[in-house]
Each structure stands twice: as C-alpha cells, then as structure tokens.
Amino acid sequence: MPQILCSLLGPSQQERQEGLECIQRRAVELGKGLEHRQELLKWNGWGYNDSKFIFNKKGQAEFTGKRYRLGGMVLPTFKEWIEKTFGASLEHKTTSRASLNVNDVPPSVVNEEFLQDLRATKISYSQDAEDRVFRAHGHCLHEIFVLREGMFKRIPDIVVWPVCHEDVVKIVELACKHNLCIIPFGGGTSVSSALECPEEEKRTIISLDTSQMNRILWIDEKNLTACVEAGIVGQDLEKQLAESGFCTGHEPDSMEFSSLGGWVATRASGMKKNIYGNIEDLVIHIKMVTPRGIVEKNCQVPRMSTGPDIHHFIMGSEGTLGVVTEVTIKIRPVPEYQKYGSVVFPNFERGVACLREVAKQRCAPASIRLVDNAQFQFGHALKPQVASIFTSFLDGLKKFYITKFKGFDPNILCVATLLFEGDREKVLQHEKQVYDIATKFGGLAAGEDNGQRGYMLTFVIAYLRDLGLDYYVIGESFETSVPWDRVLDLCRNVKERIVRECKEKGVQFAPLSTCRVTQTYDAGACVYFYFAFNYRGISDPIHVYEQIERAAREEILANGGSLSHHHGVGKLRKRWMKESISDVGLGMLRSVKEYVDPNNIFGNKNLL
C-alpha cells in the first residue's frame, strides 16, 4: 500500500547557509514545492488533504478534490451500503483532534556534539515536533488511531534530509561515531509498523528522510536502464521517465506516495508485474550505505553467478542494514496502447478456476484481479450518479441480462478486472485469448468501464478508512501469497475466521470481510483481504482489532499461505518469522545483520 509524500515536507529550520551545489538544487526544488506539499498531505490520515470522502449537506456521499476520476462526484448508493454493511449510522460520529498538540510530543533529545558535527556537514535537519511526529509512523490502523486520539511514546529526535549518496555516508558515519540510531524514511506508507520507533530505544533516533534524493541520475537507452536516487516517489519517477518516453511499469497501489528505496527495502510488488516483474526482477544494481561501508557490485549485468545474490540481503531488509541510496532499474518504452476490461463470473470458484487457467497458459494481461462478491457490491456502491437517463437505462438492461437472462445471482457473482498493455494489435489479440478462456469458465465480458473503475478504486479505497474512522468503523487490509490449489480454501477460511472472531470478541455487527485475488503466478496467487467492522460498544477497539488481525494471520498460515507477499514483516508480523523461515533461516539473516551492523545503528527492530 501507500507511502506518503513527505518528500517535500522539507526542513523547517532553514537557518544555515546553503553552499554546496546540491543544496542549491534542492533549494530550487523546494522553493517551488515545499509549502505547497506540506499542505498537500493529511497529517492524521491517508493521502492528499483535498481528497476525501464526506457526506454532503443532503446526506449523500461525495469524494472531494479533483485528483481522481471520482473527485467531485456524488455517490448516491454509498450511504445505504455503509449503513447496511456496518450497521453504522451517520448520527454517531467520532471526532479526531483537529491538529497536533505540540505539548504532547516527546521532547527531542540530541547531544550537542553530534549537532555540531551535523551542522558542519551542511545537511539540513529539523527538531520540530510536527516534522518528527510525521516520521514516527506508517499507515497501520493503530498508528492512525494514535494520531487521532493519542500520542506515540517514542518518536524520532531529529529529522535529516540528505540530498545525495555522500550525505548519507556522512550521516551514517556520524551515527556510528556517536552511537545513535538511524531509521530510514522513504514515503512513509509502511503498513507493518516498520516505522514505529522502538519504545525502549535510549539513543537519539535520527529519521533519515530520503525524499530529497529524488533525481534520475542517468538513463541508458541502449541497455534500457536508469540510475535513480532512492528517495524518488513512484509517480514522480514515472512522470519524469515518461518525458523521455520510458516507464518502469512498477505500479504498487501506493505509487503516488511510496519511494523507490522503500520498494527495495520491502520487496514491493507492482500491479503490472505480469509484464514488468516485481521489484526483484526490475532491479539491476543497488547501492547501499551501511555502518560497515558501502555495498555495491562491480558491474550492472542482467545476471551473475557469484554466490548468493547480495541484492537479496538488501531487498526486504526493511531498513535494518543500511540506507539504499541509488538504484539502477530496468526501463521500458511507454506502451503504445492500454485497454481495460472486466468479466463477470457466476461465482468465486469459477473465477479462481479461470485465473488459474490464464496463469497456466501464461497469458495473463498486465493486470488481472478477481474480486469477491462483497467487494463487487462495494464497488457498486461507489458508482457515481449517472449523468443521463440513457446510461442508467443501459445499466438496467445490462443488469437484467446478467441476472435474469444468464441466471447470475447478484449475491454470488464476482468480477475480474483486466488491464492490457502493449502494441494495439497484440493487445486486441491478447484480449480475445483471455476472454475465450473466461467464457469456458462461465465468464461474461462486462465492459471496459467496469474494469477501469475497478483500478481507480484501488487508489481511492485507501481514503475510505478515514471516513470509516469518523463513524466508528475501523478497517485494514492485509495480503498473502498461496499455492493455486489452496486459494479457495484460504479465502473462505480466512473470511470465515474473521467473522467468527468478531462475533467472539463482542463485535455487534457482522464485519466486512472480503478478498480479491490480485496477482497470478505460475505456482500460485496473491490474495488481498479487506476487513472492517463497526466498533460501537467495544471499549478497546484497537486491541480487539489486533486480536482479530492476528487470528486472521494464523488462519492464513494454517492454510498454507505466506506471512506476506509484499507488505513485509516490520514489527507487526515478526512473531511468525521463525516458523516462516525456520530457526536456521532466521540465524542466517541475523548473522548478516551482525556483520553489517554490529552496533545496531539501524535499530528499527524490524524483521528479526
């Protein structure tokens, strides 16, 4: 999921003289972006300040802002859905604190000698409370809840903004010299408690914000690679590459906010991995600064047989070993043609069978996702008011055709959304192949529009949690990967487990417990769950929520699913690491950590 663009939430103490060339460069960029961006992002919720779900004066749901296709539209059926699904009522509202109370914030404790050394490096920094709180969390439910209603026990003492690899080297050296703790911070979109500061950390905690390292250093058109500084945010990277006619094709749902370095550190996965690959397929070279020194390779080649690939110590290291500063990544020419699509299946079982067949024939489009019935209905509830009677008539006709003529039960059917990319001709050919397979499994093509809306929703859905929080509804998403033959069992059991746990824990309304198969592989699939419930009448909702989330994870593991497909482990899922990779496996990782960072400078306590 997401990562926040704190990128340009730059240093608020700009008292020092700026001399170096790179600093001037930043000044130029910040000059045009700093204040602007600071207003851009919510301090206690997801995404842009101007984009959110609200209930307007007529009591109808509406999505504000102009950034998304849904922006400014009224969603007539959404209110009913939310009331029906959660038993929530618009009359019962919770209120978040309007702004951060600076007095609650733990004081910044930084030793003067270090500050002197830091000033000498000319790297900008801040001890401001808002800057520090902003980097003390990711986007787990409990973190947002704390922001709205409490305060973190431990937050970074100081934020630094290196602007280039050399800056990072200096900071790491200083941290080693003074024995301080560094927590690297990219987009801030972690959903694994990875950014939370360990409460028991006594040393000064430096939040190393990579957002100012956001240049594309070079593009190599012959080899189709680009060397990029790790702090760059996904959408900026794509935008800037597009200027030269290229793309990386790496599009995690959080790509608006998450950073390249973050992707590497968590083993991220992109929506269009079927064409472009996941981060581990995309990366050609990584440069990382560790307390031991700099780790890199001698060449930038597609593959080498030189023992275990050291990139795989770095990818997924979650900030425990060092800071990724520069990444050489594969690029592709921007595709000529894109086409969305969707297919309706009579039930989830048939849908999964179809996806399995598509994966078997290795003809998966750039993206193929299958949402279950609950999510289909949810998507339906987010349908904006239609402009013309004709469209609504057409919708009615479609519905009639699907439900009455084809005999689909609207309470059972499910939908696959598709995204094709490439040459126009090949796309059309590809499309036909996939639809032919779908037909064999009882699928019915359901139009481009439905597909496109489906993908748009994945960006918007993250905003919904903030709305829910206002009305006693809390929710979260989690994911796993699972072999094909267990997909159905896992989906059914995990959803059922959530429902039961809620019941047992005294949740008064049945929760929303829904899933989608979101990625396909040769040997299995990635499954994504959404889970939300109305917590009225529960005294400690976060605790209850965490118990249920844990039970759901246990269920996933018991069903042969993985601990995580792409969110990572962080501190949230650490307890299951041992059974996930065995004692010896954990020991292997530990020994790498011990060698690279014997004094635990990168002390965010993730993973191990």
Partner: protein
C-alpha cells in the same frame, strides 16, 4: 523485624480437579418420540414432506455423481497411477477395480427406501420398545450444527438397532439422513443390505490395512461426503458392537479420515457429535453372552433376522438417546496441532499423519467416548444387577432394594446419569426391572436369584456353562456402571491391594492397575495422576476415604463404599490374574489369538468345575482379549505380524512379575531410586511480621490461664473430654520449664507454628537464623571468612521439616539435623558461573528439648 523469611511448602503436583459438583450437572430433558407414533398414522408419517436442512451453499448431488467425483479425484487417481506403475498393469484395470470397490461400498440413498424404512421401523419399534426417549434440545443443536459445518455423528454401539434408530430419529426430526459406515458383513443379508444401502449406509471391509486402493477409495469417499456436506457421516468409534455393554476402546482409522479435511483446511471446521444410546434391555443380550463364551455367532443373514422376529413379541423397555453437544474440531485442535503439517506436500498425496496428529486423534477419540459415557442413561436395573452380582447365588429382596437405593446415591455422587422416574419407590423400580429382565433374575421366596435354568440337573460342565451364561448376561448390565465408577473404583481396589496407605504407594498401585486395565475401561491417555485425584476426590466427597498429607485411608463410615467398589471390580482383578497365570504357565511357544482364546477358556473352565475359582467372568472372550492386549502394551508379550495374522510370544518373567504385583505389591514399585531424592516444587512466600512482644506476653499469660482452667476442669472429673480438646501447644505449655534451653526451643516452635510446612528460611544479611537449641551455636570466630577475604554472613537456613520429604528416615542410618545454617560471602564475590565454597553450620536438637 520484617525479615522476609522464605517458607517452603513441598507438594507433589497440583490438584487438577476443581471441586466441581458432578451431580448438579445440567442435562437436557427427554421426549418420547414413539408417543406421537402411537397416536397418528405411520403411513402419513412415512410419506410426510421431508425437506431436511442442508449445509450452507450445498448443491445437492446424486449418489452416482459423488461416485464419479471420487473416482476422478486427484487422490484416487494418484494411487491408481502409483499402483499401475508398481504392478506394471494398465491404469484402466486398476481404475476398473476402484469402480468395483466403490460400487460395493457406496450408498444409493433413495427417498423411497427411506420412506419404506420409516414406515416399517415405526411398526417394529412400537412393537419392541415402550418408549424411545430423545433429548430434543440435542436435536435442535444438531440441526444448527448441520447447517454450519460438516457433522460427524459418533454414537455408542450396543446393538444393530443403533443405526436404524439414529436414521429413524433424524428422519423424524426432518434432518438429513446420515451416511453410515457399516461393516460389510451386512452385505450377506441380501435384501436388507440393499435396503440399508438405499437408506444411506455405505459399507467398509472390516480389515483393509494392506489394500492401498481400497483405503484410498474409501477415504476419499468419506472425505468427499464430508467436504461437500452432503450428509452427516456416522460411524462407531468402538468399531463394533460392544458385547459387554462396556464402552470399547476407540478405533482411530475412520476418525482420522474425517478429521483430515480440517487439518488440510479443506473445511473450516468439523463438528463431532457424541451420541449416547442406552437400552434398558439390549436386543442381542443372550446372543452376546453365547458369543463371549465362544459359541460361534450366527452370520448376519436375512433369515437370521427373520427368525429374530420371534423377539418381536418380547418387551425391550425404553431406549434413551442423548445427542451430546457438538464439539468443534477447530476448538479441540487450537493450540494442539502444529499449524502447518500439510503445507509442504500437495494435499492429495497420501501422507502418514505425524505423531502429533496421531496423538491428537487418539485423544479426541477418547474424549468423545468419555462424553458418550457421561450421557449414558443408567436404568435402575443396572444398579440392581451390580448389587446382585456381589450377592450370588441369592439375595434377600428387601436387602436388594435397600442396597440398590444406596447405590443410586453413590452413582449420582460419581456423576452417573440415572433415569429414575420421580416418586417411583425403590421397590417398584426393582420389581419392574425384574419383570423386564425375567430371563436374567427372578424373585423366589423373598429372595432374588439368577435365572440359570436347570442348573441343578445336568453334568457339571453344563451347570458351569449355564451359570456362566447367566452371570455374563447379568454382568452386561452391571458393566454400564463401570466406566462411571472406574476412577474411584480403582482407588478402592488399590486400598485393598497396596501394602500401605502411603499416598505414593497407593498412587503407584493405582497407576499400575490403570495400565493393566487400559483396554478394559476408558481412560483419557496419559493423565494417570489426574484420574487418581479424581478418584480420591469422589471418594472423599462421599466420605469414604480421608486424606492426610501422606496417607489415604478408608474411613470407618466409608468402608462399606470402599468394599462395594472394590468388589465391583474384583471380577476383573481375579479374571486378569487367572488369564495371566495361564499365560505364564501354559504358553511356552508362540501362539495366535485363535489358539489363545479356547486355551484360556478351557483353563478357566476346569478351575470353575473344580470349584477353585468363582470368577465366571474370566470365561468372557472380551476380557481374555483385553488382558492379552494389556500384556502386549506392558511389553510382557511380544506381538508379531505374520503373513497369516498376528502371533504372540510370552515373556514368562515379565508376566510373572506382573502377577506378583497383583499378589503382593508390597515390594512392587520403587518409590524413587537410591541416588536421587524425590522431586518437589518449593513455594516462596514472605513471612508475616511478628506480633509485638507486649502482645506476646499477654498471650502467654492468657495461655497459662487457659491451662489452669483446663487443669481445673480436669480435676472436676471430665478429664477425658478436656484432654481430647487439648492441642499439642497447650500440652507443651503445661510441661514448660523455665530454662534457657527451653526458651530457645519455644521460640523456634512459636515462629515455625505460623507456617508449619516451611523447609527453608531465607534472609540474607538480616537477622540471624532461628536456632533450635541454645547449644552448639557458632560464634563469630567459628565462621571462616570467604576465600576473597570478606566476612561470611547468614543467608538461609534449612529447616528440619525437609527431612519429612526426603524419605530417608530409617532410624539409625539416615541423616538428621535440627537446622542447617548457610553462611555466604558478604560481598557476593565470584559473579561468574563457577561454584563457590560456602559455609554450613549444623545444629542438632539439644537432648533436653528433643521430644
């Protein structure tokens, strides 16, 4: 002053059973389902609209579709391919074979057959039974369960009527008919077999251990039914009908098959429903007795069943069916089973269950049987039979009534579920029992005697056989009581057997018996101590025994209870002894079970003819088999698999050793070995501060006043009474002499009295130790400095109470002390892991103060 002295209390294990009130356990009410049948048309009932509730999301499926799904399943196909490869045959041939197996096995449930059964069974049941009582709440729970998760019905098995009755019951309550795993011998009954099949029975061969194809097809068939929730699966944990009415030890094969879909997470959960079916009079009772005595059992055949029509004219009383609480397998497994035992292998590959899982399956099986036992209804006749068997050949009627009533109370204390109609006087209850069971016992001249017809005439052998038949039939009813009483019962037996009343010896003897009888009665595996404690608890509850710190002994009032219970289990103790004796004397060579049973039967028969034993129950082949398998488990007999079955080899020495334990368990089980002391847990608690010394004196005065008073009372001529009420302390005070020595010992006693079980007092650097005597106290120079040069200071002292727990008190040889005082370095030198030498001072009781 507030020195924190450590008080140690030694104990062995914690009592595992809370003081639960077993008798007040809530059980559902019963409802007679035959009542309505007697009032309305059976035909209409059979033709009623039958729309059972089904498992969620289920699309109904024809039996043939199920069969082909099974054949095409990955699991079966995998085994077919494997076998084809191994045997070099074409897969088609093996596939053919699998189809045949499936045809032989599968059910062909048809509503017509079900309706036919409903009609006929109504007629038959009304003829046979007075009432068929069902707990309706249980049926409602079952109805919910069926809609929620796949359900496995686990009824007890006493009669063929069991599964007919259960299907009939589910039909009556408009629930999906179960598919029943029935033994294949039914197939011999041509018409009935086919009818049963159409009513939903499927058949399994009794043994198919070696046949992989059969196993694969069978397992997949069961799992397909279960996974899709087509119908509840029903089978008998006991594997076969219990001929003795005693619950048989469970079989695990089918249970582990039905549990597998859950382990593999193919289903979210599975409900196991224990069902207890109790018969006031068992249809096959005399047949069973013949069978146990080795008269061959008639093969199930249709003509046999037709002959059985004779019994239609007979009365078989009431049936009670108690449908237990559905038990969620998921709940049972939570925390028990490693989460992902099947994650690393494709789920369709046949895989031997891990040891964890095997153990779990076994635990679940026992748990289910214990739940069955808990809800088995005991009729008054069961109590009568238990009393009567202890008072053969004849018992005065009035006495029988009195004893029966007494036993009723005892059984209820033990948690037995007695169905004794309110206000029914004991006499009527016994009389109606006698009326129903006139074939077993009858009233003659105010005495109740066994109905062993023609005992007086005929050859000796004939007499013995007739009597054995009567005893075994009667025992069938007493047996229903055994599993309820087995824990307190074995404690009672033990109290007669164990060489002393010392707790450890009683327990080890109990534990031995529990092992020996592990096939005879149902014990949850591995909780011997818990069973023992429950037994003791129940006996304490009915005032039969008393327990002190070290001993368990029968009370005066309770000796009747202990003797009764002990006598109830005596046939087993004696029977096993006879069988063991036979094995240790007669069986030198390897033998098979087929040789063993007649051999031991003849052996016992001869003893009975000679009159040198009265243990008729040793003739029971059930007991003989159980005894043999107990020996196998105890390692005294080796069981070997041979091509034509199992053979057994007796280890003579081991068997005689076991026999010795029965005969004389005095030198039986070593308490602990000679080198290690027994293990205990030490509890640490701070000591309460001492009361003020002023109060102390006050108290001392008060005491002396009391003493005076008591002396006066004594003088007044009621000395006996007064002396009884004098406790040790007062006596002490009476004998008080004002010596220095005395004072110290008194202090010691006073301090210790607050917490008499303490074994260690810990107070590092605080006040000195608590001396037992004024003599032999160390002075400062007596205590050497530590190796590091620092002074040694008092750290803790070991109290004489510890001696009680070490069990080394053979006088003259063993160690003894007043107190042991340990002094350690004041600087706590040596922070490492090495041992350091410390200083210990041993003080004995002074001669003057020793008691």
């Amino acid at each position: 002053m507030a020195a924190a002295a450590a008080r140690g209390r030694a104990r062995r294990g914690a009592p595992m059973y809370s003081q639960k009130e077993l008798t007040s356990k809530k059980r559902d009410e019963f409802e007679d389902i035959l009542e309505e049948r007697r009032l309305s048309s059976d035909l209409r009932y059979a033709m009623k609209c039958y729309t059972p509730v089904i498992y969620k999301g289920l699309s109904p499926c024809k039996p043939n579709a199920i069969k082909s799904a099974v054949l095409q399943s990955e699991q079966v196909q995998y085994v077919i391919k494997q076998l084809a490869k191994e045997m070099g045959e074409s897969p088609d041939i093996i596939q053919e074979e699998a189809t045949e197996i499936l045809d032989e096995m599968g059910h062909r449930m048809q509503l017509g057959a079900v309706r036919f059964f409903a009609f006929t069974l109504s007629k038959i049941f009304k003829q046979l039974f007075q009432r068929v009582c069902v707990n309706e709440e249980g049926m409602q729970r079952l109805q919910h369960a069926i809609q929620e998760h796949p359900v496995v019905l686990l009824p007890s098995h006493r009669s063929y009527v069991d599964f007919l009755m259960l299907s009939y019951l589910l039909y009556t309550y408009d629930l999906a008919l179960p598919v029943i795993a029935a033994g294949i011998d039914f197939l011999g009954m041509k018409i009935v077999g086919e009818l049963l099949r159409r009513a939903g029975a499927f058949f399994m061969r009794r043994s198919f251990g070696g046949n992989r194809l059969y196993w694969a097809v069978f397992a997949e068939y069961v799992k397909t039914m279960l996974r899709n929730g087509y119908a509840p699966i029903e089978f008998f944990l006991e594997g076969t009908r219990s001929r003795t009415a005693k619950t048989l030890t469970p079989k695990f094969g089918l249970l582990s098959i039905v549990m597998e879909p859950f382990f593999k997470r193919e289903v979210f959960d599975t409900y196991l429903v224990p069902i207890s079916i109790s018969y006031e009079r068992i249809l096959e009772e005399s047949l069973y007795a013949y069978e146990l005595l080795g008269v061959p059992k008639p093969k199930e055949s249709t003509s046999g069943l037709l002959k059985a029509r004779r019994i239609l004219s007979d009365n078989f009383g009431t049936i009670h069916i108690y449908v237990g609480q559905p038990v969620s397998l998921r709940t049972l497994a939570s925390g028990r089973i490693n989460r992902c035992p099947y994650n690393l292998v494709p789920r369709h590959l046949p895989q031997k269950p891990s040891e964890d899982i095997q153990e779990f399956v076994s635990d679940v099986a026992y748990k289910m049987e214990l739940l069955q036992i808990e809800n088995m209804v005991l009729s008054p006749w069961v109590l009568v039979a238990a009393v009567l068997l202890q008072n053969l050949p004849a018992m005065e009627f009035e006495l029988l009534i009195e004893k029966t009533l007494w036993l009723k109370g005892l059984t209820q204390t033990f948690g037995g579920f007695i169905e004794w109609p309110d206000n029914l006087c004991a006499k009527k209850a016994v009389l109606s029992g006698l009326a129903l069971h006139s074939n077993i016992a009858r009233l003659a001249d105010g005495h109740v005697v066994l109905s062993d017809k023609g005992v007086d005439d005929g050859a000796v052998g004939e007499v013995v056989f007739r009597h054995a038949l009567a005893v075994l039939t009667c025992a069938t009813y007493r047996n229903q009581l055994l599993n309820v009483c087995v824990r307190p019962g074995l404690v009672a037996v033990t109290l007669h057997m164990a060489p002393s009343f010392r707790k450890e010896e009683v327990y080890s003897c109990f534990s031995f018996l529990r092992d020996v009888f592990s096939d005879e009665f149902i014990f949850f595996p591995g909780i011997s101590l818990k069973d023992f404690e429950e037994g003791c608890f129940l006996l304490t509850k009915c005032d039969a025994i008393q327990m002190s710190q070290q001993e368990i002994y029968p009370t005066d009032r309770g000796s009747a209870t202990v003797s009764f219970l002990s006598a109830m289990f005596r046939p087993f103790v004696e029977g096993y002894q006879l069988i063991f004796r036979y094995l240790s004397k007669e069986m030198k060579e390897a033998f098979t079970e087929k040789q063993f049973i007649p051999g031991v039967r003849n052996f016992v028969f001869q003893l009975l003819e000679k009159g040198s034993t009265q243990c008729y129950e040793a003739l029971s082949s059930d007991m003989q088999k159980n005894a043999l398998s107990a020996l196998v488990q105890l390692g005294a007999v080796k069981k070997k698999k041979m091509p034509n079955g199992f053979t057994y080899h007796v280890n003579q020495e081991a068997v005689s050793k076991i026999l010795d334990m029965f005969d004389d368990s005095a030198d039986a089980i070593p308490e602990h070995n000679e080198f290690l002391f027994p293990e205990y847990e030490i509890l640490i608690e701070p000591e309460e501060p001492e009361p003020d010394s002023a109060d102390d004196e006050q108290e001392a005065e008060d005491t002396s006043k009391d003493v005076k008073e008591q002396e006066e009372l004594g003088a007044a001529g009621i000395a006996d009474k007064a002396f009884q009420s004098l406790d040790e302390e007062t006596l002490e005070a009476m004998a008080k002499h004002e010596t220095e020595e005395e004072k110290i010992f008194q202090m010691f006693k006073k301090q210790v009295a607050a917490e008499p079980e303490q074994i260690v007092r810990y107070c590092r650097g605080g006040e000195g130790p608590l001396w037992v005597s004024g003599e032999n106290r160390p002075e400062e120079k007596d205590i050497p400095n530590c190796v590091c040069g620092a002074k040694r200071i008092f750290e803790f002292q070991i109290m004489p109470q510890l001696l009680n727990h070490l069990q080394v008190d053979s006088l003259g040889e063993s160690i003894d002390w007043g107190t042991l005082v340990v002094y350690t370095c004041a600087d706590s030198c040596g922070g490492g892991n090495e041992y350091l030498e410390e200083f210990i001072w041993k003080q004995d009781y002074s001669m003057g103060s020793a008691l």
